[in-house]
């Protein structure tokens, strides 16, 4: 295997795109075969990506290729793709987990009237996501970024007859687009500073001028984009609602890949974040936002009863952990957690999908219970995912989370404390979920639960295997750290005290959960011990009232402004135009009156005067000789009298 394989990396997003085109144009004829086309496209991408990964893992040099896109002024704008270790990891995560989820979907979506539409969207998503991770410049990254956002919109709203689904889809698109504007502004700023949109020239400029405030501002703007996409506080509100989409979508897009794109973006632009040093403002912001998100989402997850919503808030919380890791200088740790989380969270979501599928599309955990017996495969695999997320060694989540906490402790103690608290809550709410779903007796006995078919359980088993073992690549021999690192390679941090702390935290969470829900499984929903928290529970159950606050301070004012401006436009601006029109008409009427009485009046006056003169003058010309003689006589008299006076 030579590094020449990397030259074909650009084909990786092309294959799913071809699958997309085939399904779009022939989907109505293919019907159920469209699933095979989509799976073929995704597996094809995996077969192309896997050798790339192996080549990179053996220490091949990163490659980057450009082609001429457009010319702006005298500057060429080149776009292109690159493969380095970070990209290689992302390619593997996306194509491998993607393939499994595509296979799973072919069973989960069986019988849906929009079957081929579903696989068209999934293929398009794969293409956009792969474009995003392969890009070597901000323009293509942004294109992939918006592309995955579009697919997320289409897939959340897949069952668009359902009003809640279409609202959730719109919300997801708009909230993430708000973040995207930050990313766009960051790109604009970098272009105005460096005249380029490619990573390499921009990052080397940042390295050369580490104290330029511009790069910090750009980093923060880019981070705002990541906050939207990765559902970080305060733009996290879209992700829980996104669970309206089919469950494989939640697994692929809203857990394993797309939401991790924000983390990838920060990792990719780490040169900008790190420009001001290890404690730069940008990194501090990333760390704090990350830990706040991790903690807040974990508290909310505790008080949710919808099986998917718990996982959704858990995802937000874990994404917060990844950001936290990047923010406290644990570049490798953050990326490592991204990878492990992708496996175990995809597993958990697909497992929850299996539960929902076998439980006749009911998602309320309060109606479940005792499913261990009916769904043995689902239970076993879910249990591994649970251990991985809760942070039990040697399962995947333990290693990556432990590393993040280690970095946090060395870096910033308050952040470490908050992070440890979040880890405790994680172990607790996952134990609560396990017990509510699988332990005890089924609470709503009207539903006849059943295990899912093999096409769904086999991907679960594969993912379970990886969730169990993948963490070891970061634990033994530090091979992951050797592979993915920023700047100089650093040894994997591992210290026994920190490991003990995180072990204790996880153990405490599991213990509390077990004592409340496991020892004596819940018989009735009203017995939930959390209800004793009273107001605090209501606060958490209502997700810290974020939606209500946004409705009050953003949505309603915006709608009011739009309505007001619309009235302003109609009444004032258009009113002014019409007023001018009316005034012109009035003026022309006045003008007409003026014309009639003044101008025309003058003309008539002249006429009248002339006529009067004429009429008067007529008497001078009567044609009677006597009259003329009389005038002559009178004239003579006047002359004589005048002469007499003059002579005096």
């Amino acid at each position: 295997m030579s590094s020449g394989l990397l030259e074909y990396a650009w084909l990786i997003p092309v294959v799913p795109f071809i699958a997309f085109l085939i399904i779009v144009f022939c989907g109505h004829r293919l019907r159920n075969a469209s699933a095979y086309v989509a799976i073929g496209g995704m597996a094809g991408a995996f077969l192309l990506a896997f050798p790339c990964f192996l080549v990179m893992a053996r220490g091949a040099q990163p490659i980057s290729h450009n082609f001429h896109w457009i010319t702006l002024g005298n500057a060429r704008i080149d776009l292109g793709y690159q493969v380095d270790s970070l990209t290689a990891v992302m390619l593997m995560v996306v194509t491998f987990i993607g393939s499994l989820i595509f296979i799973y979907s072919s069973g989960y979506m069986e019988g849906d009237p929009g079957y081929h539409r579903f696989f068209a969207y999934l293929s398009l998503f794969a293409c956009a996501m792969l474009l995003l991770v392969l890009a070597n410049n901000f323009v293509m990254l942004y294109a992939g970024w918006e592309g995955v956002g579009l697919c997320s919109y289409l897939l959340i709203g897949f069952w668009f007859e359902k009003p809640s689904a279409m609202r959730a889809a719109k919300k997801a698109f708009l909230v993430t687009r708000t973040g995207d504007c930050g990313l766009a502004l960051g790109i604009f700023l970098l272009y105005s500073k460096t005249g380029s949109v490619s990573f390499e020239p921009i990052f080397s400029a940042a390295r050369e001028h580490p104290h330029e405030i511009v790069f910090t501002i750009a980093a923060l703007l880019i981070f705002f984009g990541a906050v939207g996409k990765s559902a970080q506080f305060p733009l996290h509100v879209w992700l829980p609602d996104a669970m309206e989409g089919p469950t494989p979508v939640s697994a692929l897009i809203h857990a394993a890949t797309m939401v991790a794109a924000g983390v990838y973006l920060v990792a990719r632009s780490y040169a900008l974040f790190e420009a001001g040093g290890e404690h730069s403002i940008a990194l501090q912001v990333v760390a704090w936002i990350g830990v706040i998100t991790a903690f807040m989402a974990a508290t909310i997850a505790v008080a949710q009863n919808d099986i998917k919503r718990v996982l959704a808030y858990s995802t937000i919380s874990q994404l917060g952990f990844m950001m936290l890791g990047l923010g406290v200088g644990g570049y490798t740790a953050g990326v490592f957690h991204l990878m492990t989380h992708a496996f175990f969270k995809a597993l958990l979501f697909l497992g929850s999908g299996s539960v929902i599928h076998g439980f006749h599309h009911e998602q309320d955990m309060m109606k479940m219970g005792g499913l261990k017996k009916v769904m043995p495969y689902t239970f076993a695999t879910y249990f591994i995912g649970y251990l991985a997320l809760a942070g039990v060694p040697p399962f995947a989540g333990f290693w990556s989370k432990d590393e993040i906490l280690h970095h946090a402790m060395m870096h910033n103690f308050p952040i470490f404390l908050l992070g440890a608290a979040a880890a405790f809550l994680t172990a607790f709410y996952m134990t609560r979920q396990m017990c509510l779903v699988f332990a005890g007796q089924q609470r709503d006995t009207h539903i006849h639960a059943h295990e899912s078919p093999a096409v769904m359980t086999v991907p679960l088993m594969v993912l379970a295997l990886f969730s169990a073992l993948i963490g070891l690549v970061g634990a033994t021999g530090h091979s992951f750290h050797h592979f993915v690192h920023f700047g100089e390679e650093a040894p994997a941090p591992f210290s026994v005290p920190v490991a003990l702390v995180s072990l204790f935290v996880a153990g405490a969470g599991i213990g509390l959960g077990w004592s409340l829900y496991g020892k004596k499984p819940l018989a009735r929903p009203e017995d939930d011990p959390l209800l004793r928290l009273g107001k605090l529970y209501t606060f958490l159950e209502n997700k810290w009232y974020f939606d209500e606050v946004y409705d009050k301070i953003v949505i309603q004012p915006l709608l009011w402004i739009t309505r007001t401006l619309s009235r302003f436009d109609q009444k004032v601006i258009d009113g002014a135009v019409n007023l001018v029109g009316i005034l012109t008409i009035i003026f022309s009427r006045l003008h007409q009156l003026f014309d009639l009485y003044i101008v025309d009046g003058m003309v008539n006056l002249v006429g009248i005067v002339t006529r009067k003169i004429g009429v008067t003058g007529r008497y001078l010309q009567t044609g009677l000789v006597q009259g003329y003689l009389l005038v002559v006589y009178l004239g003579v008299v006047v002359l004589v009298v005048w002469q007499l006076y003059a002579a005096k």
Binding site: G73, E161, M166, K170, R177, F188, T562, L565
Partner: protein, 521 residues
């Protein structure tokens, strides 16, 4: 390359072929509609083919005018028949050819007085083509006014219930601007005297060169600048002169709306670049902030007002106000003065100006394609349901999947999704503008979010949710409608991925323009 006879006659053919078509239509029998429709379709198709020839024959690396012809017309007052195209006008001419052909094709559904309808339509094409080709002010003004008349009748005769009000408003509003422009043209005319012959001239290129060498000064220059601005701002339409647009669109027949939004609005922005920037570089720099402010207001205000509309056509009309705001912002960025601290920064800033202007021009073309397609889709829906109230639909996607997919596609293009052409123009305009107007550009991204919001909200209310029972028998797109939209959708995709075929000639022209103007400072 301009030596061949074909090259010399190409622009003349493009301009006057529709006129001859219109005259020929008048001689056709009144009672039969089909010969009229066929003739109009064939003529507009031939013009489209000629436009393709123009596009492919155009040398995108050469600065200056191509395919130019010049002949004396009224030599005693310095009027000549001078035509030519550069990278600014060529894409707009191609756009006009395409949109006119599609509009004529779509207009086969017109059965009321078809003879006059199609004659006016072809006459309109002559006016638009002439406006973009003319390099003599007398000629330009003539074509500018010619394009006004057929549109007045198209709205006034084949329009909706309030057609007369809308038509008169459109006509008078534009005329006010035109008259101001005429005065400014005369000011330029009398300011220049040929040193050899001692004569005045209406030749645009000569006047531009003269303005750079020995410009009009003081109040006269400022007034002339604003007079041109007024004429073009009304046409764009820029805030606050935009209120004729929603009325005209709502009342215009579908094909009229396509041309109005697709081409007529571009005559305004074309004029701003061609005349305001090139003729008045000093005043443009001085008042660039005004144009930028107008652009930013248009982006935010236009999208916010669009959001509050319940009439689908009004929504699209206000979206045009917002989208043309990006063009205005790009033009303003290109006009604005810069204070570079080094030679390298100066080069970056000049490239940014060119980028902004490239984006503005590309946005003109893309807006033509996208909004043209949107108005067609609105028309398709109106033909079937006879109303345009957004809240009166619901769940149509289930019933009309092809229509739904097309409406989603075009809406996404309009809200600037990467991969579709709307994005490239908007992105480049903002990319360039940001280097010049940091805060203003940052503010205008509010408009981007609101644009996404109202388009998605519109899609939600029309296509998504449970099917409105009134439309359970709604028919999907027929073949003609699909074929009208297919070329637009294809171009939107191609230009979204690879805009270079259009952008290369634009960049050459804009690079030349900006550096030419920057040389004066």
């Amino acid at each position: 390359m301009q030596s061949s006879t074909f090259s010399q006659w190409l622009l003349t053919l493009i301009i006057f072929l529709p006129l001859f078509g219109a005259i020929a239509i008048l001689f056709l029998p009144k009672d039969k509609a089909n010969p009229v429709k066929w003739l109009a379709t064939i003529v507009s198709f031939v013009v489209l083919v000629l436009c393709v020839a123009l596009f492919t024959g155009f040398d995108s690396t050469a600065t200056g005018m191509q395919f130019d012809v010049s002949a004396p017309w009224i030599p005693s007052i310095g009027v000549s028949y001078h035509l030519g195209v550069d990278g600014l006008s060529m894409p707009l001419i191609a756009l006009t050819g395409l949109l006119t052909f599609i509009s004529v094709l779509y207009s086969w559904i017109i059965n009321e007085r078809p003879k006059e309808y199609f004659a006016f339509f072809l006459l309109l094409e002559t006016g638009m083509m002439g406006t973009f080709c003319a390099l003599d002010f007398f000629l330009f003004y003539t074509f500018w006014e010619i394009s006004l008349v057929p549109m007045y009748f198209l709205i006034g005769i084949w329009g909706g219930p309030r057609r007369e009000y809308a038509a008169i408003k459109f006509f008078l509003y534009t005329l006010v601007g035109s008259v101001a422009m005429l005065l400014a043209i005369l000011a330029l005319y009398f300011n220049y005297t040929d040193p050899v012959t001692g004569k005045h001239t209406f030749d645009i290129l000569t006047l531009i060169a003269a303005q750079h060498a020995k410009p009009l000064l003081g109040l006269a220059a400022t007034l002339s600048f604003w007079a041109f601005y007024l004429a073009f701002a009304i046409k764009v339409p820029a805030f606050p002169f935009h209120t004729w647009l929603p009325d005209a669109h709502v009342e215009a027949p579908t094909a009229g709306s396509v041309i109005l939004a697709g081409v007529l609005l571009k005559m305004g922005t074309y004029g701003l670049v061609r005349f305001n920037l090139a003729l008045f570089p000093l005043q443009s720099a001085e008042f660039a902030w005004v144009i930028a402010l107008v652009g930013i207001i248009a982006i935010i205000y236009g999208s916010m007002v669009a959001m509050a509309q319940s009439d689908l056509k009004k929504l699209v009309a206000y979206s045009s106000v917002g989208h043309m705001g990006f063009v205005m912002l790009g033009i303003a960025a290109a006009a604005a003065p810069i204070v570079p601290d080094s030679q390298a920064t100066r080069e970056i800033l000049i490239n940014a100006k060119v980028t902004a202007l490239n984006g503005a021009t590309l946005q003109m073309v893309n807006h033509g394609l996208i909004t043209g397609a949107l108005f067609l889709l609105v028309g398709v829906l109106y033909e079937r349901t006879h109303h345009r109230n957004i809240d009166g639909f619901g769940g149509l996607w289930k019933r009309v999947p092809v229509y739904g997919a097309m409406l989603v596609y075009i809406s996404l293009a309009s809200l600037g999704l990467p991969g579709l052409s709307g994005f490239v123009g908007e992105f480049l305009a903002l990319l360039g503008s940001f280097a010049i107007f940091k805060l203003g550009t940052a503010l205008s991204v509010i408009g981007i979010v609101v644009t996404a919001a109202y388009f998605l909200w519109m899609l939600q209310r029309i296509l998504l949710g449970p099917l409105n029972e009134r439309y359970k028998d709604l028919l999907d797109m027929n073949a003609v409608e699909k074929w009208c939209l297919a070329p637009l959708m294809l171009l939107i995709f191609i230009l979204g991925i690879y805009p270079a075929p259009v952008l290369d000639p634009v960049n050459t022209a804009m690079n030349h323009l900006v550096r030419d103007v920057m040389g004066l400072f």
